[in-house]
């Protein structure tokens, strides 16, 4: 079984984002990590290969600093990595999909491609779908339960209100995953050391026959989300407080 896991190196979710210029941020201040949803894909791939044999290849299109995320993925158990180097943090999902497709094809077709359901930096929610369209594979996303039966997978996703949709999908396929699928393991120290020696194939987009970066969606402005300045504290006894809260919500805010 050959499994690819597409990952992205993103600012730690606990990081404060300091803006710089019209549409960028101070990335030197940020700790970068594996996109949290991608970790479920790595764990699932490693578990499947432990059971069935084969190999797990992690792949990213990203800047030089994305090496850290690839090493972390290999510490979890991925066998090797492909790093398509780019200069930009924000890539158009159509471009990313083209790059990933070319690199995956060059390496040899997999049985499964895992991705996170989306990245927590651009929150674009499109790369798994566009990658599947490029490869002509079927795709499912936001999967939190998965069973592989030969050349088919049965995948479950939540569709709101606690309802769950069960989909059957033929392999090879792109499977976007989310929390609930598994509990990603914490790499042990020897695994972290071993990961430093695992091979990373560093390539450029021109190696893949792609001439230049293109972008059909451009980030033109990045601004801090408006923050509230602090709560108006409601005073008095518990009864008085809840009465006042109800009055505020009904009369002042008109939301009840």
């Amino acid at each position: 079984m050959k499994i690819f896991v597409c990952i992205k190196s993103v600012p730690d979710t606990a990081a404060t984002i300091k803006l710089s210029g019209e549409s960028s941020f101070e990335d030197s201040d940020c700790k970068f990590v594996i996109n949290p949803y991608d970790e479920y894909g790595i764990e699932e791939a490693v578990t499947l290969v432990e059971k069935n044999g084969g190999e797990v290849v992690v792949i990213t299109a990203g800047r030089a600093s994305a090496d850290g995320a690839l090493r972390s993925a290999m510490a979890i158990g991925a066998n090797r990595a492909i790093h398509v180097k780019t200069e930009e943090q924000f890539l158009d999902s159509s471009f990313t999909a083209k790059v990933l497709k070319a690199a995956i094809e060059r390496d040899g077709m997999p049985d499964i491609i895992f991705t996170g359901k989306n990245s927590v930096d651009t929150e674009g929610f499109q790369t798994p779908y566009r990658l599947a369209a490029e490869l002509g594979f079927p795709v499912v996303n936001e999967i939190s339960k998965l069973k592989i039966n030969g050349d088919k997978a049965v995948a479950e996703r939540e569709i709101g209100g606690g309802d769950r949709e069960v989909l059957e999908i033929s392999l090879p396929a792109v499977i976007g995953v989310t929390k609930g699928l598994n509990e990603p393991r914490y790499p042990k120290f020897p695994d972290i050391m071993k990961a430093k020696k695992k091979p990373v194939n560093l390539i450029t987009i021109s190696d893949l026959g792609i001439d230049e970066l293109f972008s059909k969606s451009r980030l033109v402005k990045l601004e801090s989300a408006p923050e509230r300045s602090g709560a108006k504290m409601i005073q008095g006894s518990v009864e008085a407080q809840v009465k006042e809260l109800i009055r505020i919500l009904k009369e002042d805010e008109k939301v009840l």
């Binding site: 404060t16 930096d121 566009r130 709101g160 606690g162 769950r164 059909k216 709560a231 518990v238």
Partner: protein, 335 residues
């Protein structure tokens, strides 16, 4: 004149979801003059379609500016193939020459529109807070809600999904209805797409959850409990309050990780993103990751025993107190 197609989502009974009205409002464009085509996927349940075409539903769509309703059917198994659904949406968008294609960033909307954008080979803006159809740009959350990004799309047809409750629903004015001579009548078009599928992806089942519960991401009011709830059984107190409020119930990551609540109701970074009119956070400290999932709520209320809890520095109204006293009192007062 510019033309917008909107994918309508309906409940099991065929009623239009309330959250669609905000999308229809956005679909009318800057001056409110766009032609709006509502589209619905006919999954084979004719009673659903009857309800959708009932006078009440037609009135509701007309009030929010819909001029035509396209009922989509297909050669293939439309009900069980997300690929046939998205291909049919693209086919309708081409047939009726939409300048923009909008939907709701719900679980099914997110999925179908991403499929459609990939099939259409057009860029898309997902989970937008606002859209500028004329300028082909959108504002959406970046870095888990810490920043807002304006994204410019280089496209022929602008494709976007809108975060539920993010755009305030506004009815069209009487004068606009009169000017269009629409008088609440909507033309119904049956559109049959030729899309079929090779069967490589197929919906085999929907497992129903507890059907009485409101969907978190689309609820107008949400009440959420944090670790301070101490036990799964104590959610009963939250449920009682939610019932009188007409609210959906959420939980913080701490409460989910402690096993007090399922992940399906987690709000925040690795859970759901919500944007209700009222968000009541009970015993939640207010971590940056939690705010990522609810900061675009209209009014946020924090209830906590710790005066230094970060929630109080970032919400609208605060009650310093024990949730086990405040929530039952709130439930009682609401009754």
């Amino acid at each position: 004149m510019s033309r917008t197609g909107v994918l309508i989502e309906i409940s099991d009974s065929g009623r239009i979801k309330d959250t669609i009205c905000g999308v229809l409002t956005a679909a009318r464009g800057r001056d409110g003059n766009n032609e709006v085509y509502a589209m619905v996927i006919h999954t084979g349940q004719s009673d659903q379609m009857d309800e959708l075409q009932s006078a009440a539903s037609i009135d509701q769509m007309a009030l929010y500016g819909v001029g035509k309703l396209i009922v989509i059917t297909a050669d293939g198994d439309l009900a069980n193939s997300p690929d046939i659904q998205s291909a049919s949406i693209v086919a309708a968008a081409k047939e009726y020459q939409f300048n923009s294609l909008l939907g709701l960033a719900s679980a099914s909307g997110r999925d179908l529109f991403a499929r459609a954008a990939a099939a259409f080979n057009e860029p898309m803006a997902s989970d937008c807070i606002s859209v500028d159809l004329e300028g082909k740009s959108a504002v959406k959350s970046h870095f888990s809600g810490k920043t807002f990004a304006t994204v410019q799309l280089d496209c022929t047809t602008m494709i976007a999904t809108i975060r539920p409750n993010a755009v305030e629903p506004i009815k069209v004015s009487d004068s606009q209805i009169a000017a269009k001579d629409a008088s609440y009548s909507i033309e119904i078009i049956n559109f049959k797409s030729s899309a079929t599928s090779d069967g490589r992806i197929k919906k085999v089942e929907v497992k129903k959850g507890s059907s009485s519960k409101l969907d978190l991401t689309e609820a107008p009011i949400i009440i959420t409990a944090g670790r301070a709830i101490k036990d799964a059984a104590n959610f009963k107190m939250i449920e009682e309050c939610a019932e009188v409020l007409g609210a959906a119930i959420g939980a913080s990551r701490a409460a989910v990780d402690a096993g007090f609540a399922p992940h399906s109701i987690q709000v925040g970074q690795t859970g759901k993103t919500v944007s209700p009119k009222v968000y009541i956070a009970c015993g939640i400290s207010g971590a940056i990751q939690h705010f990522a999932g609810m900061k675009t709520s209209k009014v946020i209320v924090g209830i906590n025993t710790d005066p230094d809890a970060p929630i109080f520095s970032k919400c609208d109204y605060g009650i310093l107190g024990d949730i086990f006293e405040v929530i039952p009192a709130l439930t009682k007062a609401l009754k």
